[in-house]
């Protein structure tokens, strides 16, 4: 009985918070992986990297400006370039206001881009959002309710994506917007050249500083969550879980957007390894396979999803095949690989003999 009370009043509110932190961590890892991929293609695709950086900086500056606007500091200077962004307030923020603006700066870019997609979904596809009728009572209950709602949303969101009709201009715009969001969810700081190495450690360090420099504010935020939870608990309201679900939905949207952006960057990276005249073939396959699938499966109800699947598979196979056969890297051929190994061995021997 005593444990039940502790669970209900102390641990239960933490369940959705932990859920949000989990999804946000996945988002952080995926962003890090995208940065790694972009760094690899930077020398050959500087324009693409500059573009992603610009989008990331725009969202960062936008989040910062929202922070200043909400806290009534006002924005006196708003500057964005491919290298840096700068937002200056009209009135210098101090104390809690300063802390809130920092929250918007450091955490905002992870959620603000996804918010735009969220608004689009809310307007055009609100069936994806299922909210629980009332509050939850235990830690495990909280996790189940949070997990169920997010899994329902993920399922519906993926369903929407695999049923996109690429012959419909609005669907194409939606996908392009999603890719745009995915590419720019966080600035990479590799505009003209890599000036600052911003990575997961930098992000976490910033957030850690934010949390540790003003512990009172963190306690206040937790107190707010707990009070909101208690109110919801006593009146059986779903406000608390909905607030947490909102962040969960944003994280899911971001994760999906980053995964799609990953596919694009991987395709670019793979085509770089194919011989120049052949490296356009995967892109051509992308369009032709989709068009042909739509023609072949014209009368079927699942024509959209099957066409997307065929498009993805055929592009993957063609890219893989070209990477093997028409590669501009010599190391994939077994005989050449052996030769390379022999060369390495020979160099090693020479070094060994010179030492002696």
């Amino acid at each position: 009985m005593c444990w039940e009370i502790v669970d209900r009043f102390l641990f239960a509110p933490l369940a959705p918070i932990l859920g949000v932190i989990l999804f946000w961590s996945i988002q952080l890892l995926l962003i890090e992986s995208m940065k790694h991929l972009l760094r690899k293609i930077w020398s050959k695709h500087q324009s693409l990297c500059r573009f992603t950086n610009l989008v990331g900086l725009f969202f960062q500056a936008f989040s910062h400006a929202i922070g200043y606007t909400i806290t009534k500091c006002g924005v006196s200077h708003f500057y964005i370039s491919v290298d840096e962004s700068k937002v200056e307030p009209k009135r210098q923020a101090k104390g809690a206001v300063e802390w809130i603006t920092k929250v918007f700066l450091f955490i905002g870019p992870f959620f603000v881009p996804a918010l735009l997609i969220f608004i689009l979904l809310l307007l055009g596809y609100n069936a994806a959002f299922k909210v629980p009728a009332g509050s939850f009572y235990t830690f495990s209950d909280g996790l189940i309710v949070f997990g169920n709602s997010l899994s329902y949303f993920s399922q519906k969101f993926i369903e929407l994506l695999v049923n996109l009709d690429f012959l419909n201009p609005f669907h194409v715009f939606f996908l392009l917007f999603l890719i745009f969001i995915g590419l720019g969810i966080r600035p990479l700081y590799i505009g003209r050249e890599e000036k600052r190495k911003i990575n997961i450690i930098y992000d976490l360090q910033n957030i850690k500083n934010l949390l540790s420099e003003r512990p009172v504010y963190i306690i206040s935020v937790f107190a707010f969550f707990y009070i909101l939870y208690y109110i919801c608990l006593f009146f059986n309201l779903n406000w608390y879980i909905n607030l947490m679900l909102f962040f969960g939905w944003l994280s899911i949207i971001s994760i999906v957007a980053i995964i799609i952006a990953h596919l694009i960057i991987l395709l670019v990276k793979s085509t770089d390894q194919i011989r120049p005249s052949w490296n356009l073939l995967p892109y051509v396959t992308l369009f032709i396979s989709y068009g042909l699938s739509r023609l072949v499966f014209y009368s079927l109800s699942f024509r959209y999803s099957i066409s997307i699947v065929i498009m993805l598979i055929s592009t993957f196979i063609i890219t893989l095949f070209l990477k093997r056969v028409k590669t501009n890297k010599l190391k994939t051929k077994a005989s050449i690989k052996k030769l390379k190994d022999l060369e390495v061995e020979e160099i090693g021997n020479r070094r060994g003999s010179s030492k002696r």
Binding site: Q46, S47, R50, F51, L54, S81, P169
Partner: protein
Amino acid sequence: MGIEEDLLKDEHLEKELKPHPFSFFSLQSIALFLILWGIIFGWLVNFSGYWTGFESFLKDFFGSFVLLPVLLVWWVVTLAGGVVLSLVFIRWRIFFIYVFVLAVGTIIMFIGGWSNVYNVFLPVYLICIGLLGVFIIDWYRRSHKYIITNFRVIFKGGLIRKRERTLRYDKITDIESSQGILGQIFDFGTIIPITQSGFGLGKDTSFAAMGVGGTAKKRFGLFGIFGGSKEVQTPRARTYYELHGVYPYREVKKLIESLVQGNVIIPYQKEQLDIQKQMKALLEKQLELKNQDEEES
């Protein structure tokens, strides 16, 4: 005629440039809008489920003559795009170009007897005109040529009337350079050399007017207008008189700056003065030594 034939004695080529393909994007967007709207319109009329409902709604009002509202949608959206682009670029000729394009399209459709296949003709016409626009703009871009030598910059351009400007580095007083968002992404930018004569400068004019009008019902009438305008000088030149959208921007900018610096006369004169001072000091020293020798002897 090759570039070598244009060069003077002891003149050598530093760089030959053309505007970047995206540097005329503002002009290309006028044509791209037509292509985009053509695609959307074609999809809307031929494949969209929304249009079926809209068409039946139209039939209630216009009977079987659905072509009129379809044309209305085609005209209104295109002209709305024209108004937006005209306001953005502050060039009303874009709007009138769109009016001309639409009028020609409508006339061709009726004269050619294609009104019964309007669902194919109207979008295809827009896409074709858009593609033609993109082609002409790119042709115009390709007509530009900037030749940077150790003596001067030669600007060449123009589709039908060929224009040319030669600018010597010692005549350049200022260099204005700018880079838009696309320029920052694709690393191109515009460099405007301004001369002592003011070539490379334009004017921004803003005008404000206020009017008061009032008529009393029977005997008294009053009308007055007050106005004023302001002019600001700003670096501006025709695309064939500036280094428009050159790539790689920073490298070209640095080259121009260093060539201008190399041709500035003041450092050269200063150097000459220093040499003369040194020579004078040497002569004085020589004279001093000679006098000393004479005294000793």
